[in-house]
């Protein structure tokens, strides 16, 4: 209940459960700011990768050392052997500016969200699997349900299901912290202050490779997330995340 107290409408309609928003104001705002920041980080990150689409493991790596893997794309640097007969224009100036500005916005937004989630009970009530769901049986049931489109469309819109909760928890508490960590491990100044940021991972190039792989994993999460929203009813779910309510009808019910 506490996580809806932020919304004035819930204060005005005590006891009318259906009038409580599906998503509180803090969740909605932080969701969309995070979405925009992530998009900016993704676009600028891809531009930065184009300047050196080769990845390594350990402390060092450059075009004179073998790559762990490389992306089959052209590069914005003539020094990188890509097999393409042309070099793309350098975009690292604005890309790096945008990358770090979006990262700051994302970190501040994440802090607001985590503080809210901890103190409002949002994490405990909405993200932590229900006591009855903490079993492999519940997990496999939820997994099976996700392969039945009709079940998704009829799913309870007021509560996250088990797989959804686990996915959000992993993204919020594992992947985002790791992507921030591996990003900071590439900062020569930050690493000068806390060397273990890089050394605990095995070196700068390992951090860079993990940073890339984590962003790929986050993109996969995003694709599945949007696909699930689509299957569950795109218009209704989007309206709920924008206005808090699925429709005007729901508010008057």
């Amino acid at each position: 209940m506490a996580d809806t107290a932020w919304d004035v409408s819930s204060v005005l309609s005590v006891g009318a459960r259906t009038d409580a928003p599906r998503h509180g104001a803090i969740v909605r705002w932080t969701h969309w700011i995070t979405a925009l920041s992530f998009l900016a980080l993704l676009v600028s990150g891809m531009e930065i990768v184009v300047s050196h689409p080769r990845f390594y493991w350990g402390e060092n790596g450059n075009v004179l050392t073998p790559a762990l893997f490389s992306l089959p794309i052209p590069s914005s640097r003539a020094t990188v052997p890509t097999g393409y007969g042309y070099v793309l224009p350098d975009q690292n100036g604005w890309s790096r500016f945008l990358h770090f500005e979006a990262a700051w916005i994302l970190v501040f937004t994440g802090l607001v969200y985590v503080m809210f989630g901890l103190f409002s009970g949002h994490f405990r009530n909405s993200l932590l699997p229900r006591a009855a769901d903490r079993s492999w049986r519940a997990f496999s049931d939820s997994l099976a349900e996700h392969f039945r489109v009709d079940a998704l469309a009829g799913a309870d819109a007021r509560s996250y299901n088990l797989l959804q909760r686990l996915a959000y928890l992993v993204v919020i508490f594992v992947m985002f912290p790791l992507v921030v960590w591996t990003g900071l491990a590439m900062s020569p100044a930050f690493v000068s202050a806390i060397p273990s940021t890089a050394s605990a991972l095995g070196g700068r190039q390992t951090a860079r490779t993990l940073h890339f792989l984590l962003s790929v994993a986050l993109v996969l999460f995003l694709l599945v997330h949007v696909a699930m929203v689509w299957l569950a009813g795109f218009r209704e779910r989007m309206t709920a995340m924008i206005t808090g309510h699925a429709s005007a009808r729901e508010e008057s019910e």
């Binding site: 050196h52 402390e59 450059n62 100036g93 500016f97 500005e101 020569p188 930050f190 050394s199």
Partner: protein, 243 residues
């Protein structure tokens, strides 16, 4: 009704004025303590200022990682540079005997140092990483004299805030704040991996700034200017490259 709206207007006005003057005050304090980078304007200014301020608060003196001899990259990678100018080729033909490093600006004794003059200053050897903003990296042994030794030799004036350094190559100039200029690892480098600094790596003289990305380590340095202000920063890259 009008009373409420008037009260609302007044209280919001006060809040906005307090907020704005608070921001202005914060900016003055931040500038006073050297937490505002020269490229703090524009749409990306807030991000750059946050990064620079956070780094200067948390890591003004922290030492860049140094590596063991066994971690030196073999071979190191020399990034491409523009073709050498005629002036550079002439000096190269003479074995860089006539290479000079001039220091001017906010210094007590402007000077012009030969390579031998630089070599007579206290020597520092460090094994540090070159990390390019593109993503690649290598580790090498760098030998030179800390920039702070050069600055002490010419005597910097109290109002000094930045050191600009110029390559002999046209349009290749960069600058660092005093935190990095006085940092013991910021090295006026003339040798690498036990030999004279090779030309592809910036020889005969390169300023190595190991706490920032590679593009701050300008090659073929011939001049430095100590200054209290930078022109509005023109580069397309971030001025501060600690991240």
């Amino acid at each position: 009704m009008s009373g409420i709206s008037r009260r609302t207007v007044i209280s919001r006005g006060i809040a906005a004025a307090a907020g704005l003057s608070g921001l202005a005050l914060a900016e003055r304090i931040a500038d006073r303590f050297g937490l505002v980078p020269p490229d703090h304007g524009g749409i990306y200014g807030p991000g750059e200022t946050l990064t620079y301020a956070a780094h200067r608060l948390l890591m003004r003196h922290s030492p860049a990682r140094e590596f063991s001899r066994s971690q030196i990259s073999s071979p190191p990678f020399a990034n491409e540079t523009a073709p050498p100018t005629d002036a550079f080729k002439r000096l190269q033909a003479g074995g860089f005997k006539n290479w000079s490093l001039s220091i001017d600006g906010l210094v007590a004794h402007p000077a012009s140092l030969s390579l031998d003059d630089v070599r007579r200053l206290p020597v520092r050897t460090q094994i540090t990483q070159v990390a390019c903003e593109e993503g690649w990296s290598y580790v090498a042994e760098w030998i030179g004299t800390p920039l702070v030794e050069v600055l002490n030799a010419v005597g910097i004036l109290p109002q000094a805030r930045y050191v600009m350094y110029f390559s002999i190559q046209p349009d290749w100039v960069d600058s660092i704040d005093m935190a990095d200029a006085l940092h013991p690892q910021t090295l006026v480098t003339y040798a690498m991996n036990g030999a004279d600094l090779p030309v592809p790596f910036g020889g005969p003289l390169r300023l190595r700034v190991p706490r920032q990305l590679g593009y701050k380590s300008v090659k073929y340095v011939t001049r430095m200017t100590v200054t209290d202000r930078l022109q509005p920063f023109q580069g397309s890259y971030a001025w501060y490259a600690g991240i």
